[in-house]
Amino acid sequence: MKILYSWLSDFIENPPAPEELAAKLGRIGLKVEEIKKTGAACAGVTVGQILKIDKHPNADKLSLCDVDDGAGVMRVVCGAKNIAVGQKILFARVGARLAEGELKKAKIRGVESEGMICAASELGLEGYDNTGILVLPEDTAIGADAVTLFPKADYLLEVEMLPNQAHCLSHYALAREVCLFYGLKLKEAAVLKAEAAGTSVPVTIDAPDLCPRYAAIVLRGVKGARTPEWMADRLRAMGSNPKGNILIDGSNYVMYELGQPTHCFDISKLSGPEIRVRRALPGEKLVTLENKELKLEPGMLVIADAASPAALAGVMGGLDTAVSGYTDAILIESARFYPPTVRLASKTTGIKSESSYRFERGTDPELMMKAARRLAGLILESAPGASVVQISDNYPVKYQLPVIEIEPSRVNAILGTGISDGEILACLKAFQPDIKDSKPWKFSVPSYRQDIESVWDVAEELARYIGYDVIPAVSRMPMLPSNITPHWAVASEMKNTLAALGFSEVYNYDFISAKEMKACGLEAAGAVELKNPLSSDYQFMRQTLLPGLLKTLRYNLNRGRDSVIIFEMGTVYAKKGAGKAEEVNCSGLMFGDFPEGGFWKAGQGKADFYHLKGVMSRLFAGKGGFRFEKPKAAPVYFQPGLALEMKLGGSSLGFVGRLAAGAAAGFDLKDNNVFYFELTMGSAASAWKPEFWQKIAKIKPVSAFPQNWRDLSIVLEEKHEWADMDRAFSGVQDLASARLIDVFKGKNIPEGHRSLTIRFIFSSMEKTLTDAEVAARMTAVLEKLAKNFNAKLRS
């Protein structure tokens, strides 16, 4: 919210300087984001007239102007396009002081300039077009000092307003807050004192639940009343655009000053004339001040005349009953509306106004009459001939001041402080000077503080009053055990292992586009869709982490990387019946040079399926029951036949394989040598023991005797798979391990066959095996291979 320092100062006796004020506001939770100087900051700048314009001899875009500033004719260089002979302009002679400092003598492209024709910004003026020089009205007197033409220099404070600070939404309210918390004296605004008993426009409230109070003042003879210049200046400084009509500008002024929105109806346009506050009827419409037709709904509150709605309560007035330059009789409305009703109306119609902003947050129930009288008083100052015809205050539902019982011990228990009774009472007295000192204190909350409902709220006010530093950093919190969820435990372990194995963790957004989904071969039907996406790029919730990883791959390849080895852990989403399915996945991919960055010795190559399979084996090393299986069906983004399913215990963990060519093409990749894995964290977590003691595998004893080994090369048909052979060795006596050390096809190997070299290691717990014993076991191995796989010794 914008606060003009001079305006705020109207209400504080001996106001603090702007910087100090900002610090004081910050201390009580009203953050001043910016202090900006406003008004004209200049000295020695006067009004001049352009007499003659010549081309600059050395520059196409510059002109030479003769300017008469009353004291003489000066020749100046000017770069603006909007200059014309006869214009009245702001002229600064060499030596004049401008917003940025003193104007120095300068030669511009070889021509000396005796001064400068100013743009508004050069005087520090805000809210003007700065594309050219500032052109003044024709009747401005030559030689007049610029400071007499513009508002005085002032400070504009930008104060951040939180939703619970409805009691600070005006200059007066903020002054009141400063005075209350810092013991300064508050000054009041002058309001209309007159009384009028008549009723020329009857007011009826049909919906007192939504409008508990409606104050109205009727004035006649206001025709042609203009907004005084001082008021227009303040409104301009606030960033509002004054219309010149006091009926409109005055209403805005009072809202900024007191926080109560008001509205003026032209009585001659009111049917009846009468005012009826009621719920909108089905099918009713209203054309707003901004000439927009609204379809009203029964939940909305309207201010109607005898015939139809004249305003959408608290949001915006109607065009048909709006005041104009010809308006002579007006009804000033100053009412209170139920905040949720105003918010609903504002949301439904999409109209956000300064008025709805304040009503939504809640206005002071006792402010209506004061605001109406303030506005009437301001209008009468501009229209001295006008008369007050009616002052009415419909107040069907009286506001009851809430009373909160305060025990000092309770307040101290909330804050963790030992604040004395005297200090607490001093704070309460600042709010309610007549509070009686008998405990529990009965604290009547001021009407403008509807956010204070309980002792917790009072504790906050006390902390603000004394300063939040009163709260010590001490604790007697008891010890409690710290637990982590199984998911958390597994996630941390998996991330650390993957990082140790060379994978870099990435974080992608959860949103993907329809195009990306299609590129992965996925259907939009099963995807959760955003109702209000930021753009079509972010329209669906990802069903797999793949799109993000492929985007990351593409991003890094485009930046010259030769290898990308990445993983991500994140949530994936899907629809499940009428509900949702949400689970955490861990996915990753390998692409390009391996090892990353290459190596000068042998061993350089490209990442392939077996590299990634090795990573998976390592990731689940020691986890009982982990195995790879040929999947019945792998997700569509895997190349068919080039993926394995991973299982832990009985449940599926996910898949590892090569990316389908279509998915690679969909993300502009040159080939599909992308090796990808996808794991479901839920399955991993359920099979994974989170408890440390359970996770630890018991150590198996090892043999005290030397081991023996034999290498065996066999030839067999390619259709036989290693996994089957590996399983077949399980019954061989004393066999510690059978390790595949070579796979060979080609010379001397029949077509459709391959040669495997396997190293068998034998070890007994009881003795050193003799050569004969090892030979016997090898014979058993060879027999198994011959019988099950028709394998022959390679000659």
Partner: protein, 351 residues
């Protein structure tokens, strides 16, 4: 012994040392040191004899003795250096400066590292981890947290909605903060409750250097008997000291979050300039000496009531922080977008 006798003795010791020190091959310098300068060494014993010599002469002799001592120490230092010197270099035909085997080097994301570290700090203080869904119901995300329908506080958090509905027919939404986990935990557990809940949150905001529509928070909640704002301040100050060093201090400023009362914005003293940015304005704290890092407060009675906790019996505190903000401070990142670009040149710098 008189002064002359003492001088003669000193001279003899000095000669004897010189001869020993100059021998080739050299005597062991440690042994020489023990023999002459050790506690019961020749020179030490002689210096001790000074006490029998009259005061006026004692001073000059003492000075003389010390000069000799310094001389010996210097020679011994030289000897020690020589005896420890390496042998002549042996040349091999290997270029040992060639790069070593490139073991894989992966990396954790800066947000993971930051979050783990923060979680560790709170774990030491007895906070357990709690997690919740990302697609949430209005009730858990707003209503139970004291954001009534049609309350302007809802404007503080621009919300994404999805094409699914909850049991009451309201649109499901993407959680705008981790606070719904407070409600889910309290509804499932009797006090005391002491949890942190880290995770991803969503706001419908345009992306810029300090905003993202996807980001991460860590939520803290402690409910017990007699929990106060002072417990909160101690907890957060202890946490900040753990993360930013023992000089870190915490300051509370009044603020507003619907689910706490009193509410506070929590600032930590600027550990980067230590509040002394007089000459050059500190870019981190903008010269104020304080950095805004968290929102916190005493749990609002309406929140306790929503979870069927009696506010007269139980009280608690809650806090929440953006993990991106911490990561940016710790890693010196000035643009939040960098955390979601996944440029490996950046990510691989994280160890």
């Amino acid at each position: 012994m008189n002064a002359t006798g003492w001088k003669e003795k000193l001279s003899a010791i000095r000669d004897s040392f010189s001869i020993s020190a100059a021998k080739i091959p050299a005597e062991n310098p440690e042994a020489l040191e023990l023999r002459f300068l050790g506690r019961k060494g020749e020179l030490a014993l002689l210096l001790r004899d000074l006490k029998d010599i009259p005061l006026e002469e004692r001073k000059t002799l003492g000075a003389l003795g010390n000069t000799v001592k310094e001389e010996m120490t210097a020679i011994l230092t030289g000897l020690k250096a020589v005896s420890g010197a390496p042998g002549p270099a042996v040349k091999t035909d290997l270029d040992l400066t060639l790069p070593g085997w490139p073991l894989p080097k992966g990396s954790l994301h800066p947000l993971t590292v930051t979050l783990n570290r923060m979680g560790e700090c709170f774990s030491k203080l007895g906070f357990s981890i709690a997690e919740g869904p990302l697609i949430e119901e209005d009730y858990f995300n707003f209503e139970a947290l004291n954001f009534p329908p049609f309350h302007p506080a809802r404007d503080m958090q621009d919300t994404f909605y999805v094409d699914l509905k909850d049991a009451s027919g309201k649109d499901l939404l993407l959680r705008t903060h981790t606070s719904p986990v407070q409600i889910r935990t309290m509804k499932n557990q009797e006090p005391p409750v002491r949890i942190i809940s880290p995770g991803r949150v969503f706001r419908s905001e345009a992306v810029d250097a300090s905003h993202s529509f996807v980001f991460h928070q860590i939520e803290g909640l402690y409910i017990d008997k007699g929990v106060s704002m002072a417990d909160l301040k101690w907890t957060l100050e202890t946490f900040m000291k753990d993360l930013f060093g023992s000089s870190a201090k915490v300051r509370f400023m009044p603020s507003y979050f619907p689910f706490v009362e009193p509410g506070a914005e929590v600032e930590v003293s600027c550990v980067f300039c230590r509040g002394k940015s007089d000459t050059v304005r500190c870019p981190v704290c903008k010269g104020t000496g304080w950095i805004e890092l968290l929102g916190a407060g005493v749990v609002h009675p309406n929140v306790l009531k929503a979870c069927n906790y009696d506010p007269q019996k139980w009280s608690g505190f809650a806090f929440g922080a953006g993990i991106e903000r911490f990561a940016m401070l710790l890693y010196g990142i000035s643009d939040m977008r960098m955390l979601y670009e996944n440029d490996l040149r950046i990510l691989k710098q994280v160890h």
